[in-house]
């Protein structure tokens, strides 16, 4: 101990001496460097000054083209200044005015005391270069500084060696102590890790890269024993896989979990996890296998941990079921809102039924939706109005009635309509096979059904039946929503029927307002309106337009002789003839008591006259009964540019007047000679 201390003290003293020496040398070196720099600065400024002086003289001489003088000056300068080491002057065309280089180049370092300047005269340029030597002191300082630097480098090298040696000596013992301490800590850590492994509830095995078990924990061993394992207690050395003799084959053809563990072992992946069922006779169990890589002493191993996750699994499955249910409700809800929209926009009843069936099928995913109406009468049949979905053949073969138990054949649809309440068949697969209806359903891949009455208040219309291929598809929220849907459908159907009735009433009213009640021809008001419109059209487009007025001959006498009822009969009969003989575009109206107007668009006077003649003959030939021949007189006029409807009618009236005067039962035109 005493010897060691003396050794250390000596080393310390040496080190302090060395460091002091190094410091002093460094200080000296620094001072030398500074001195040298000052000296150099002096030389630099002198070189600069003198080169300026020379340049000034040269410029002046060159401007006079006195090259000889310039050369003499340079030569003289070089001779008179012994510290000049190089002096040269070159023209920009390569010509050399003067060039001098001292044989012994004593300059400190090349370029350090060199001044190069360019002299411009006229448009020419000359390069002047001047170099000086430094003084002896500067040279000495330079040499000294170099040797100082060398010495310092050597010293640092030696000092570094000594320091390394001392530090090495001083640090070995503490290092040994440290190693001992760490070894102890490592042992403790391993013990700790073992305890940890044993205390874990997961079934843990550690597998080496040959696939053999290196270690297992307590819960692994217990589980193995509980499941009938009877080998060595710790299972160490057993193969973890189905076989360990050909791992390459296992890596390509083994079970997925075997391949995954091998991948973890050879570094292709860092970890792997998988959950799997492991049901025993008594209970359903699920496990999560988690494989993690660990490298220990440079060897790759895998920690395989099996955790019982049965509880979590059960909760997860319950959650999944309720999610599914929620999804189903959402779908039905969506269908409800879609069908409500269809209701509000529906134009006709059949279209609405088809649309609602389609919505329920598509939105809710039911494979069959059926909508039918009930018929009263003896048959009490339920007839199909609309179906959607791929399983329509299920229902197509069945004759549906709502007669009830007298036949013992009523299915859920009939029961539903008769009872006015939904009928739900929840699970046809489990329900008794003695129910023939359910049996047939099951054969068609249908496992549940629900039927809802389509009725609103006292109005009972029919049934919506919905079929599912999933068990328990009709939870109570779904049923409630579908019930609401069917009620809404009933309301919608009634609303459409109501709207149809109202529309028909409206149309009839409209018809009546423009029609002459007796003859069913247009009345005077409507005829006027049509005439105005046609005259307007003729004016705008220059289209042809003709009109004819006709009046029943001696109608007053007919009335007086045969009574008003016969008179009405004559009017109706004539109107009938007119309707039958007019062309599509012609319009006829009752103009006055026994006076009629026919408007013939796109017809000239000649055409109108022919039409009038045709009517006249038809009238003449018509048998009104009572042996009475009925004739009429016609006045025809064609519209001319500038004619108002009044003018046109006036001219037709004049022609009619002429026909009356000329013996009746004839056609006259205005102007008369037109035909």
């Amino acid at each position: 101990m005493g010897l060691g201390y003396r050794k250390q003290r000596t080393t310390l003293v040496i080190m302090i001496l060395a460091i002091t020496t190094l410091f002093l040398w460094s200080a000296a070196y620094f001072i030398f460097l500074q001195q040298r720099e000052q000296m150099m600065e002096f030389h630099r400024s002198r070189t600069l000054r003198e080169s300026e002086l020379i340049a000034e003289f040269l410029t002046e001489a060159l401007l006079r083209n006195d090259y000889a003088e310039a050369r003499n000056f340079l030569r003289g300068w070089q001779r008179n200044h012994d510290y000049v080491t190089a002096l040269s002057a070159h023209f920009d065309n390569g010509g050399t005015l003067f060039s001098y280089q001292r044989a012994d180049n004593a300059s400190l370092s090349a370029g350090e005391l060199e001044q190069v300047r360019v002299i411009s005269y006229g448009n020419r340029a000359m390069t002047l270069s001047l170099s000086h030597e430094t003084t002896g002191i500067a040279m000495a300082l330079e040499r000294l500084s170099r040797s100082l630097a060398l010495f310092a480098a050597l010293l640092i090298l030696m000092l570094g060696g000594a320091l390394w040696f001392v530090l090495f000596r001083w640090s070995v013992k503490p290092m040994e102590r440290e190693i001992g301490r760490r070894t102890q800590a490592l042992r403790e850590a391993i013990g700790y890790a073992h305890s940890l492994l044993y205390s874990m509830s997961g079934h843990i095995a550690i597998v080496d890269d040959t696939g053999h078990i290196l270690d297992t924990n307590r819960s692994w061993r217990e589980f193995a024993r509980d499941n009938g394992y009877q080998g060595p207690d710790d299972m160490v050395g057993l193969c973890y896989f189905h076989a360990c003799d050909d791992l390459d084959r296992l890596a390509s053809k083994g079970e997925p979990w075997e391949r995954a563990i091998l991948e973890v072992l050879n570094g292709e992946r860092d970890e792997y996890s998988m959950d799997y069922p492991c049901h025993s006779a008594e209970e359903q169990r699920w496990f999560l296998m988690r494989v993690v890589a660990v490298t220990y002493h440079g060897e790759r191993r895998a920690i395989v941990n099996h955790i019982n996750i049965t509880d979590i699994k059960q909760v997860q499955e319950a959650l999944a079921r309720s999610e599914e249910e929620l999804l189903a409700i959402n779908r039905v809800y969506q269908a409800l809102s879609a069908s409500n929209k269809a209701l509000s926009m529906a134009e006709d009843e059949q279209g609405l039924l088809a649309e609602v069936a389609r919505i329920i099928h598509e939105d809710c995913g039911f494979p069959l939706v059926w909508i039918g109406y009930a018929q009263n009468g003896d048959a009490k049949a339920l007839v199909t109005r609309s179906m959607a979905g791929p399983k329509t053949d299920f229902i197509e073969g069945i004759k549906l009635t709502w007669k009830g138990d007298d036949m013992g054949q009523a299915g859920p649809i009939g029961d539903c309509f008769r009872g006015g309440e939904p009928i739900i068949k929840a699970n046809c697969s489990l329900a008794g096979s003695d129910d023939p209806w359910c049996k047939r359903a099951f054969e068609h891949g249908i496992t549940a059904s629900a039927a809802f009455p389509v009725s609103h208040g006292a109005a009972r219309i029919g049934v919506i039946a919905v079929y599912s291929d999933a068990e328990d598809a009709f939870s109570s929220p779904v049923v409630a929503l579908l019930k609401e849907l069917s009620e809404n459908l009933a309301f919608g159907v009634l609303a459409i029927r109501e709207r149809r009735a109202r529309e028909m009433a409206q149309r009839e009213l409209e018809r009546l307002s423009v029609t002459d009640k007796l003859t069913q021809l247009y009345n005077r008001l409507r005829t006027d309106t049509v005439l105005e419109a046609e005259v307007g059209r003729a004016e705008r487009y220059g289209a042809k337009l003709s009109v004819m007025l006709f009046d029943i001959d001696h109608f007053k006498e007919v009335n007086d002789h045969f009574g008003h009822q016969f008179g009405d009969q004559v009017l109706v009969g004539l109107a009938e003839e007119v309707r039958h003989n007019l062309r599509e575009n012609d319009v006829a109206g009752r103009w006055g008591g026994e006076e009629f107007l026919v408007i013939a668009p796109h017809t000239d006077l000649n055409g109108a006259k022919k039409l009038a003649e045709k009517l006249r003959q038809r009238f003449e030939a018509h048998d009104f009964g009572g042996d009475q021949r009925i004739t009429a007189s016609f006045g025809v006029a064609e519209w001319r540019p500038g004619d108002t409807s009044g003018n046109l009618i006036g001219r037709a009236d004049r022609a009619l007047y002429r026909a009356k005067n000329n013996g009746r039962n004839r056609v006259e035109t205005d102007p008369p000679d037109a035909a």
Binding site: Y67, E69, N93, G95, G122, R124
Partner: protein, 280 residues
């Protein structure tokens, strides 16, 4: 300061102490700096002094104009003249008696060259139209007067050039072209040959122009003039004295040779043509 002092003093060489006459004066225009001139011509002065038995003194004028005036007014015994000053003085003051002319490398004439950079596209003098041209001193025969004559003969007038300048000396002309401030330049062929490097090439060469001359005062006795001419003509390369004297003046100077006024007729023609332009 030394050149100026020497200029005033001259140089006395007292070889023949017994002579009582005033010293003979050799006068120069300052075509080089005074110091150089005295150094170059002192051996010649010494040679003449010995041959003639008289003191000989070198005098350098302050400038060209002064030299011309002094020579014209016969105030210089022996005068150095370029070809052009000789012609000019002759026209103004009457021809001065000729002594000898210079012979360089065996030739009593020299030429001037007009040159461009080696990579320039110009092939003929006419191609210099619209280019930049450097000349030497406006009074210089070989670097200004002769080349200008060549240009004019080729149909290029000064105003046809984009720019031209008279630089201080031949060297500046060479450098000005080499460094690209000018596209072409003109210098004495000898100068060009010595200094051109490989960045320049000759575009045109002038006819032979008679070299510099020595003349005497017009009123110098013919006998004395003959002695001086003799002393100059005797200087030959290869013998000790000649080698020393000629070598000091120029490496290329091979001697002094006979000359006559007709040798300068070509130059007269040239000057007639270019001087009005240059003075303008």
């Amino acid at each position: 300061m030394r050149p100026i002092i020497l200029l005033a003093l001259g140089l006395t060489l007292a070889f023949s102490a017994g002579a009582q006459e005033r010293p003979l004066v050799i006068g120069f225009m300052p075509y080089l700096n005074v110091e150089d001139l005295i150094r170059k011509y002192s051996p010649l002065a010494g040679h003449l002094s010995r041959e003639l038995g008289r003191e000989v003194e070198i005098r350098v004028a302050r400038n060209y104009a002064e030299h011309i005036r002094l020579v014209g007014e016969d105030r210089i015994d022996i005068a150095f003249l370029g070809g052009s000053p000789y012609v000019v003085i002759g026209e103004e003051y009457g021809n001065k008696p000729l002594l000898v002319r210079y012979e360089f490398e065996g030739k009593p004439t020299f030429t001037s060259v007009i040159f461009v950079r080696t990579n320039d596209q110009a092939q003929r003098l006419a191609d210099l139209r619209g280019r930049k041209m450097a000349f030497g001193n406006a009074n210089s025969t070989l670097s200004s007067q002769v080349p200008l004559y060549m240009l004019m003969e080729a149909g290029v007038m000064p105003e046809d050039l984009a720019r031209y300048a008279h630089l201080r000396n031949h060297e500046n002309v060479l450098l000005g072209v080499e460094f690209g401030d000018f596209d072409a330049g003109a210098v004495a062929e000898e100068v060009f040959r010595e200094k051109r490097g490989d960045r320049l090439r000759v575009l045109a060469r002038s006819p032979e122009i008679s070299t510099h001359v020595f003349v005497t005062r017009a009123d110098m006795p013919e006998r004395q003039r003959a002695s001086i001419r003799r002393a100059l003509l005797d200087l030959k390369r290869g013998d000790g004295e000649g080698e020393r004297v000629l070598g000091a003046i120029s490496d290329k100077l091979t001697g002094f040779v006979a000359v006559e006024d007709g040798d300068y007729d070509l130059l007269r023609t040239i000057l007639d043509r270019v001087l009005p332009v240059l003075q303008h």
